[in-house]
Symmetry: C2
Subunit: 354 residues, 2 copies
Amino acid sequence: MGPGPSNPYPEVAEAFAMPLLGHLDPVFLTILDETCERLRQVFRTTNALTLPISGTGSAGMEAAFVNVVGPGDVVVVGVNGVFGERMCDVAARCGAAVVDVREEWGRPIDPQRLLEAHSSPKVLALVHAETSTGVRNDIEPLAESKRDALLLVDCVTSLGGIPVDVDAWGVDIAYSGTQKCLGVPPGLAPLTVNQRAIDGFVDRSQSWYLDLRMIAKYALDGGSGRTYHHTAPTAMIAALHAGLGALLDEGLEASWARHAECGRMLHDGLEKLGFRLFAEEGHRLPELTTAWVPEDVADEAAVRRTLLDRYDIEIGGGLGAYTGKVWRIGCMGHTARPRNVTLLLGALAEVLDR
Amino acid sequence: MGPGPSNPYPEVAEAFAMPLLGHLDPVFLTILDETCERLRQVFRTTNALTLPISGTGSAGMEAAFVNVVGPGDVVVVGVNGVFGERMCDVAARCGAAVVDVREEWGRPIDPQRLLEAHSSPKVLALVHAETSTGVRNDIEPLAESKRDALLLVDCVTSLGGIPVDVDAWGVDIAYSGTQKCLGVPPGLAPLTVNQRAIDGFVDRSQSWYLDLRMIAKYALDGGSGRTYHHTAPTAMIAALHAGLGALLDEGLEASWARHAECGRMLHDGLEKLGFRLFAEEGHRLPELTTAWVPEDVADEAAVRRTLLDRYDIEIGGGLGAYTGKVWRIGCMGHTARPRNVTLLLGALAEVLDR
């Protein structure tokens, strides 16, 4: 119940137990095609260029930027947590002129401020679910007013846990990670890119490994065969295939409802135990809950260690200025079950003697 | 028996079956520390900066270049196959002035030509074991004459299969992949960098994801705690930990001897069946054998498909100009067993009616 990785779905463990397949094996290529199609369903998109990047969520972020941002391009970034900061760093390394729109941690970014930050940015970038603060930034209001900008959204901690609707929202580039609400170990970054973003690709990405034009020639069957780029991480892709299967068998709406229920239980339960929640009401993520460490807790790390040692429960500490001051509790993917929330609340009551 | 991935060691499947650990879990951090230490043993180095990069072997290549190469830096690259070509592309995207030293595919690079290609390059880069051709390029002769250059070596298909001796050879940066002679699924890139190379790091790597200064603060325990960079791919690292354990339990020399024996069996057996080997004698890799497709084989892809369908054996086709003309047969990691060679030779004799 940390901020990720979550516990994988049982189907994922079964996939890992299967014999390893080569990246050109016809059986594997079917799994890869199905994985891309399942990702389209989960992202709610018809984008052909939808695939798992061979790295963690942060590789997805880098892949999103390096393919569309070149020297001098204006990139507006909403920053209200660690991952917004990271976007600025990644964009700057592409040579972008970064315009950051800052908000206090724990509060959402006002879409209007993002839209008014620059008259004609190439990219508007925002984190949908800030894992560092438990805050949801609203994406939908950006779509209709983005004009010529490409809307680039970090869905690492949102995809599968709360509604994400890439096509309906007009998101041009979105990426995620496998280890949050998708219930798969860390190691892959689902990514989707629409034609509008492809039309905005730089001539040559500064990254060979994350060059989407080259990756697509292997990962997507265009009817004319596959051109080898890098060796696909076949075991992890088979695991993702299985996790997405479990998610889609349950149904996206059912998964969102399950995450919502667990989040409500946790928010209410923590407040009953005397905790103050950190994220602003109305923008609290159900899958990632932040709470101030109670003032009577002298050694917060010791409490977290007791949860781990005695109950096998991991929860996360705060980041940046909130190190030692805030806890971050994940309830994502297969972990998002009422029984886990009940157990954590009971354990906290015991350890904190409430 | 394709050019990778190879079959994982049984211990790797056991590691995948263990519960998933978080990237800050103390149990996982012990596994990570042990993995780095095992990589030092396998690379034969005392380099502190030795760790698995969170991507496939090609991510290791990119990590090797982006941390030491900036705009205008001279990089001399030996090119006698696909992966030498790839090095040129990756270096060029860093803004390097690339000096390529070309040799016919199937023949090794003459170290002297590499040394004489430029008076003062920042980097001398060479692929130790060319997976596209089955040729070994000798590294040792470069070390003593490299002067101020950093020696950057691709050990993707050599590490664990033939002698690699990073410190004794004076290699400054080396990387590998997990899916070849280490007997682990694809998805991680072991990498080692010495102090000389660290001293040559660019001020800011163009890649955030592959920035070794930042990665090291998480991956290596410097005694002052771990600074989160990206979420480590914990399942894959546990798998690598197990695979390296199997390799080191056997012993590096024993593994090299096993690969050498299988390579000899395969080379001899193929010649007895009438094949002509592709790679130049004296520089043939035991773990990756290349042979010309016999002239009486009209449809080489159909033969490979029969091997896969009837015998569950995958072998690889040729790359580039050798597509359809050459076969590439891997005998790596757990796959490097005499019984597999015997089976393949028997299957080829049956299918080709020899």
